[in-house]
């Protein structure tokens, strides 16, 4: 008995800590969701300034203090087509203080096709902010008036038409890969390092077909330099009610490029919900609305669960398309669907 008391006295501190630390940790975790956020939240954009993620995040970070009680700090981590920044975010502490600006290229296409970067299984979706697609365009003096015209010509003359592509796994590349895979319509894909170079080559007449985001197409179309033939999205673009979607033209494909935020795997659900709710409110802020309007940005808000579903669908689509991206020669071998 005496021994036990001595033992207790000698080890009081140790016993106290062994009991107290787990207890304290439990309460910390509970408090985390309630007091979250207690410090600034970092949004990692895996690209340099001036990109689409930058465009949608900027207005939010300007008003974040009002809705989160903490600022939203943007950190640019460019490199490796978005992989570097994604990895940095995915390996951060799952406490909600680090978010990743997500996108189709680096969070669906790259993981699905190449097994690189991080996909829906390795990150926790927080919100989807926007969803947009791109246009297929031709010069105003082009003989093609509709997508059907173009495809008829392409099928009759395989490998004759040149199509400018603004980067790997972009909507226009995916669209033409899909056309080759399912319709046997093969074109020559001329790949450029960016959308601007592609647009310059298109305007200069160096490629027959090119494309661009609603933003990059709008002024060129208004000046009568180019004609948008089709919108790759699910629905027509509100600013271009006359341009049909690919589905309407008889091609069963819709490609959306979404942007959103994700948290590292294992971030507590209450924290994610709190973030999602705060961002939803931010999107209703008049300052944010005005900024998005100026930039031609259309908000499509989805909460964590809906966003997970969309993300998964996109990922599966690219996983299906995997084989279609490998090219052996200058012209893709046309393999019509059986």
């Amino acid at each position: 008995m005496d021994k036990a008391v001595t033992w207790y006295r000698q080890n009081k501190a140790r016993i106290f800590f062994t009991l107290a630390v787990p207890l304290a940790l439990c309460s910390v975790q509970r408090a985390q969701a309630q007091d979250f956020p207690a410090k600034p939240i970092t949004v990692i954009i895996p690209f340099g300034p001036g990109g689409h993620s930058d465009l949608v995040t900027r207005p939010l970070s300007a008003v974040a203090q009002k809705y989160l009680g903490q600022p939203l700090v943007v950190e640019m981590k460019p490199g490796g087509q978005g992989i570097i920044g994604t990895e940095h975010a995915a390996k951060s502490a799952p406490d909600g203080y680090t978010l990743l600006a997500t996108g189709v290229g680096w969070n669906a296409a790259l993981p699905a096709i190449e097994g690189r970067s991080y996909g829906p299984d390795q990150l926790e979706p927080v919100v989807m902010l926007s969803e947009e697609s791109t246009f297929l365009t031709v010069r105003a003096d082009s003989p093609y008036k509709t997508l059907k015209d173009l495809v008829t010509y392409v099928k009759a003359n395989p490998g004759k038409v040149t199509v400018g592509i603004g980067g790997p796994y972009t909507t226009s590349e995916t669209f033409w890969r899909w056309m080759t895979k399912t319709q046997g319509a093969s074109v020559r894909l001329v790949k450029f390092g960016g959308g601007s170079q592609m647009m310059l080559a298109g305007l200069g007449g160096h490629v027959d077909v090119f494309g661009g985001s609603p933003l990059s197409v709008s002024e060129q179309a208004r000046a009568g330099k180019i004609k948008p033939l089709v919108y790759y999205g699910e629905k027509r673009h509100p600013e271009y009610p006359d341009v049909p979607t690919a589905r309407e033209e008889g091609f069963d494909i819709a490609l959306e490029i979404w942007n959103g935020y994700a948290a590292p795997k294992g971030t507590p659900r209450p924290v994610i919900d709190k973030l999602a709710e705060a961002i939803r409110k931010m999107l209703d802020d008049p300052a944010v609305k005005e900024a998005y309007k100026q930039a031609g940005e259309h908000v499509t808000f989805l909460g964590p669960d809906e966003y997970r579903k969309v993300w998964r669908e996109t990922y599966d689509f690219y996983a299906d398309m995997k084989g279609a991206y490998s090219i052996k020669g200058i012209v893709d071998e046309a393999k019509p669907a059986n």
């Binding site: 790997p168 450029f192 160096h206």
Partner: protein, 513 residues
């Protein structure tokens, strides 16, 4: 006089005191970030973008444009003083600028840079005003085959930059080509020399490689010298360009300005090509080409003028077509949209105050840059009187900060250190550094345009010869390549004749052949 009224309208906007002030702020900030390698104009514009929300649209763009060309103005300072090029467009300035600084003529080099940049800015604005539509046509007429031919020509000119042996120049160029191919190729999506690393996927970054090859290796070379390195004795009397400098420089400045204005409109290598293109031209035209590489003032004046001239005309695709061709321009594009102006082909007619205002502000901005930079020349030149053991710390700090600040990535510092060692080795064996760095910058564009041309031409090389612009450039390359062979053959013929006269024995003749 449409042009005249446009100009008056432009200046009436640019000379509004607030716009003058905004242009000044932009120019000051631009010079500051230009002097510090690494943090380039894009990052600065991105940081300042939120501040412009409250400004009026033209003022905002005037300020942001000022940052862009201000950075080009300031970019040469570290090249001349420390042999560290902050941007790829100031690589060429290192060659003669640093040599001038070593000879105690840093002030003259910096002063000539400032004046040359100012004149280059004026020439390009003048050209922009007169033939902006023609310049945008030039940008459009360059397709993949034209870029291929232009960049190939550039690659051959790079070899001429080295003052030492042509063979070493060629080898340095080849090393640069290999470095430029690191990463994913645009057309086939194949990863080259990445060793499975994601960091190398988008290729090597210019800044860490240049910081290493120039800055770090320079420090290493100087450290191994036991004796105290000669302090750059800067004669304060010799701070300004002399009459002889002027006489040597005025024609190169004019030529550099014209070449820079033309090539500046071509994204993907235009600006870099302008700098070493004008350097090569001056070296070829010079009666004393051996001075180049040993501190020739023309070798500083021409490329710096070309650089600043191209910084102005680089705005052409953005202002006349609405297509941003540089990250900094993409951000200015964004700033215009935030203010409710969508840049496009109609900008010139629908928002003339924006178009002409920004162009006119480039005149006032360049003047302010000159007034700002000339007094700084003395200060910069005095910096070199700091003992080298202290200066070393500054150089290494600048390099580490520069390498890190590009992508906020510690990998880049490792890359820089590695290239420091590589550069030290290469320089020990007498390899010139500038061909490595320049071909590394040119090759990604060259490779992409070559692949694009091959797709367009169905794999037929004739595509390069069947189009007027690329055909002309290709003919020029053939001439440049043939010239040494022909002249060698010509000399050899003379030698053979002499030999034949010396001995008529067939055996000796056969041996000589």
């Amino acid at each position: 006089m449409d042009l005249f009224s446009n100009l008056i309208e432009g200046f009436s906007v640019a000379l509004i005191p607030t716009n003058l002030l905004l242009g000044f702020i932009g120019a000051v900030l631009g010079t500051a970030v230009g002097v510090l390698p690494g943090l380039g104009p894009s990052a600065t514009i991105a940081l300042l973008l939120p501040l412009t929300y409250k400004l009026d649209p033209v003022g905002a763009i005037i300020m942001l444009a000022g940052i862009y060309y201000g950075a080009m103005f300031g970019g040469s300072t570290t090249s001349i003083l420390l042999n560290i090029p902050g941007e790829n467009s100031s690589v060429v300035t290192c060659i003669d600028g640093y040599q001038m600084a070593r000879k105690g003529r840093a002030g003259a080099a910096l002063g000539m840079c400032a004046i040359g940049s100012f004149i280059g800015g004026l020439i390009s604005v003048l050209i922009l005003i007169l033939i902006a539509p023609a310049l945008s046509d030039l940008a459009l007429s360059f397709g993949p085959p034209e870029y291929t031919a232009m960049l190939l020509l550039g690659l051959f000119m790079v070899v001429y930059l080295s003052s030492e042996s042509v063979l070493k120049g060629l080898m340095a160029m080849s090393i640069g080509c290999l470095l430029g191919m690191v990463g994913r190729d645009v057309t086939y999506g194949l990863d080259r020399f990445t060793f499975g690393s994601d960091y190398l996927l988008s290729g090597l970054n210019f800044v860490p490689v240049a910081m290493g090859l120039y800055g770090i290796s320079e420090v290493m070379l100087n450290m191994e010298k036991q004796e105290t390195r000669e302090v750059f004795k800067t004669d304060l009397k010799g701070l300004w360009p002399t009459r002889a400098d002027w006489k040597a420089s005025w024609a190169p400045i004019l030529r550099g300005g014209a070449l820079g204005s033309l090539l500046g409109v071509l994204p993907g290598g235009g600006t870099v090509m302008a700098t070493f293109g004008s350097y090569t031209i001056e070296k070829r035209l010079s009666k004393t080409p051996e001075r180049f590489g040993n501190g020739a003032i023309e070798g500083v004046a021409a490329p710096e003028t070309a650089n600043n001239a191209s910084a102005t005309t680089a705005f052409v695709p953005l202002l006349t077509l609405g297509i941003p061709t540089h990250t900094a321009h993409a951000l200015i594009f964004m700033a215009m949209m935030i203010h409710g102006i969508r840049p496009g082909p109609l900008l010139m007619t629908e928002h003339p105050e924006m178009f002409w205002g920004v162009i006119a502000s480039m005149v006032t901005g360049n003047l302010m840059l000159l007034l700002l930079n000339l007094p700084l020349v003395g200060m910069w030149a005095k910096m070199l009187t700091v003992p080298y053991k202290y200066l070393v710390l500054v150089i290494i700090t600048v390099c580490v900060m520069g390498a890190y600040s590009v992508n906020l990535s510690a990998y880049d510092i490792t890359t820089m250190a590695l290239f420091g060692v590589v550069g030290y080795g290469l320089r020990k064996f007498g390899f010139p550094i500038s061909p490595i760095v320049l071909s590394m910058v040119l090759v990604p564009n060259l490779e992409a345009s070559f692949q694009q041309s091959m797709v367009l031409g169905m794999g037929d090389l004739r595509i390069f010869f069947s189009r007027p612009i690329s055909g002309t450039l290709m003919a020029l390359i053939v001439l440049i390549l043939l010239f040494p062979i022909v002249s060698w053959l010509w000399n050899r013929r003379g030698d053979l004749k002499k030999l034949r006269q010396q001995n008529n024995s067939p055996a000796v003749k056969a041996n000589n052949l």
